[in-house]
């Protein structure tokens, strides 16, 4: 690390702060900048996917590939805006918006069955389909053994179906009621 060649000016900090809607304090932005420079080893002004994956804690996360698609090539201002959903000052609405964006990989404002299925696959690996489940002897029905069936069933119970396209307000309805814990602390020296 050594010397960060480009230091942040007060003007830069204020610009970044505005861009992220004051989600972070000025001190936090300076810390984030140090971190950004630390991750951006080749000094290109953005952190590449490889550089993110060199953080083992990030690489073992099941959603890392999805997040990389959102993170790749971001400059510092956009990086801070990305993280703003995790600030304690962010609203529940902003957090849900972030989650929605993670699901909506093509960015068209609609989350399809396949989008949700993909995320479920990321989170469970092959562990659901590999489960050997027995047949329910009483009802003589096979018990659910794969993600598709799990998702379909749960969706139908919530009043949707396989063809439903969920939009932002649906997510707010589903996720908004219970407390969403999505906060990260930025270490400040």
């Amino acid at each position: 690390m050594g010397n960060t060649s480009s230091m942040l000016t007060q003007y830069d900090i204020e610009e970044v702060q505005q861009h992220c809607n004051n989600a972070f304090s000025q001190q936090e932005i300076v810390s984030l900048y140090e971190r950004f420079c630390q991750l951006d080893r080749n000094g290109g002004g953005f952190v590449s996917g490889e550089e993110f994956l060199s953080v083992p804690e990030f690489a073992v996360n099941p959603l890392s590939q999805r997040l990389l698609r959102m993170l790749d090539g971001l400059n510092f201002k956009e990086f801070v805006a990305f993280l703003s959903a995790f600030s304690p000052r962010a609203t529940v609405q902003q957090k849900i918006e972030f989650i929605f964006k993670v699901y909506d990989s093509d960015g068209n404002g609609k989350v399809t069955f396949n989008d949700m299925l993909d995320v479920l696959h990321d989170l469970t690996g092959q562990f659901i389909s590999e489960q050997q489940r027995e047949v329910d002897l009483i009802l003589e029905m096979p018990l659910f053994t794969d993600c598709k069936q799990v998702l379909t069933k749960v969706l139908e119970e919530a009043g949707y179906n396989k063809e439903s396209l969920l939009i932002m307000s649906d997510f707010v309805k589903i996720l908004g009621s219970s407390g969403l814990k999505m906060e990260v602390e930025v270490p400040v020296d």
């Binding site: 804690e57 959603l63 989170l123």
Partner: protein
């Protein structure tokens, strides 16, 4: 230690066997929300725990902290102190450095003029030759240490040369080896380096019985394990010094120890090394600096001050696995040297983590989803 920058290969399953359960170290509680009670859409859609963990890792992670250089606070910031600092710089670069370079050159001349004759002329008389070569290597290491004005305080009884005994130490820089070597001629196991260091390795260090390995070669591991075993069994060989972290860490943290040193069936003697940061930060970040630059940096600093503790030898306890043994020794060394332990394998500097960790998380989430389903079916 020139690793290919940016080319990370996925680690082989061998790396798995080397480390105990990381879950024991990371904060408990799964990263993925475990649904309680009946499974609802909300439980499946709420990915906030996994996202929070990912964001947490982006903002700060324990692995990168191990390799972070901690520059000392600048104290030369006012009109009175700044000229003082400038005088210091002048003194260090124009007076100390040439003096030290001279000392080192003299040392090398003496060393080479003794070593080369001894090496070739005493070929027949192996015992005497080995003794003299050992003493000479200790001598040149002392010269090196003097060239940085090394002030080393050794604590604990000096290691004795016994068979079936290995020494392990925490690793901050290649100078660890030099500092330890000046007291006792160890045979060390090191990564083969390019350049002049490699030359030294293949000529002079061969004589004390050093073992080389190449991190990037997978087959190398078996050969090295075999060599380690052979060396440790021999009564005549110099005591073996191993740095089980496998890479240089910044002297504030310790990464996981590789189990290779702990399954040789030998007594393990831990050595803890702690550098005093006030004078110079001795951490060698091999990705940022070549060894030559690192040495030059040390030679233009005021001093290298460190403490070396030779700790009580330990044996494998009945029922203890080599990995547990390695962790126990790591504990002993970390406590002594004031290092914080992290659950990461040092080789993650060069390769990606094994998919096993991600799979464990996925498995626990999958199980809780299925449990939630089961609950309503009953």
């Amino acid at each position: 230690m020139n690793s290919s920058e940016g080319k990370l290969k996925s680690s082989s399953s061998e790396l798995d066997l080397d480390r105990p359960n990381i879950e024991d170290y990371l904060p408990s509680g799964s990263s993925i929300q475990e649904p309680h009670g009946k499974l609802r859409l909300r439980d499946l859609l709420d990915i906030s725990p996994a996202l929070t963990e990912a964001a947490g890792a982006i903002v700060d992670d324990s692995f990168t902290r191990c390799f972070k250089l901690n520059p000392p606070e600048p104290w030369n910031w006012n009109v009175y102190l700044f000229p003082l600092w400038c005088c210091g710089v002048v003194f260090r670069y124009l007076i100390l450095f040439p003096m030290r370079a001279l000392v080192l050159t003299i040392g090398w001349i003496i060393f080479l003029s003794c070593f080369i004759p001894v090496h070739f002329l005493l070929k027949g008389n192996d015992n005497l030759r080995k003794k003299m070569e050992r003493a000479l290597v200790e001598l040149i290491c002392s010269f090196f240490v003097a060239s940085w004005t090394g002030v080393v305080k050794y604590h604990g009884p000096r290691p004795s040369m016994r068979p079936k005994q290995v020494f392990v130490a925490n690793h901050t820089s290649m100078i660890d080896f030099i500092i330890l070597e000046q007291m006792t001629a160890f045979a060390v196991i090191m990564q083969k380096h390019p350049g002049w260091v490699g030359l030294l390795q293949s000529t002079i260090l061969e004589s004390v019985g050093c073992i080389w390995f190449n991190r990037s070669e997978a087959k190398d591991r078996e050969i090295v394990t075999r060599k380690l075993r052979e060396h440790s069994q021999g009564a005549d060989n110099n005591p073996l010094l191993i740095f089980p972290e496998g890479t240089c860490v910044n002297n504030q943290y310790s990464v996981m120890f590789k189990k290779g040193a702990f399954e040789l069936g030998c007594t393990v003697c831990p050595i803890a090394i702690k550098y005093n940061k006030i004078f110079v930060d001795a951490f060698w970040n091999s990705r940022k600096q070549s060894f030559t630059m690192h040495l030059l940096q040390l030679m233009t600093s005021w001093a290298v001050v460190c403490d070396v503790w030779y700790l009580e030898p330990q044996n494998l306890r009945p029922g203890e696995t080599p990995i547990e043994f390695a962790e126990r020794i790591r504990d002993i060394i970390s406590v002594r040297a004031g290092l914080k332990k992290v659950p990461w394998d040092g080789y993650l500097k060069y390769s990606r983590p094994s998919p096993k960790h991600r799979e464990r998380k996925q498995q626990s989430f999958a199980e809780s989803v299925l449990r939630g389903l089961e609950l309503e079916e009953k």
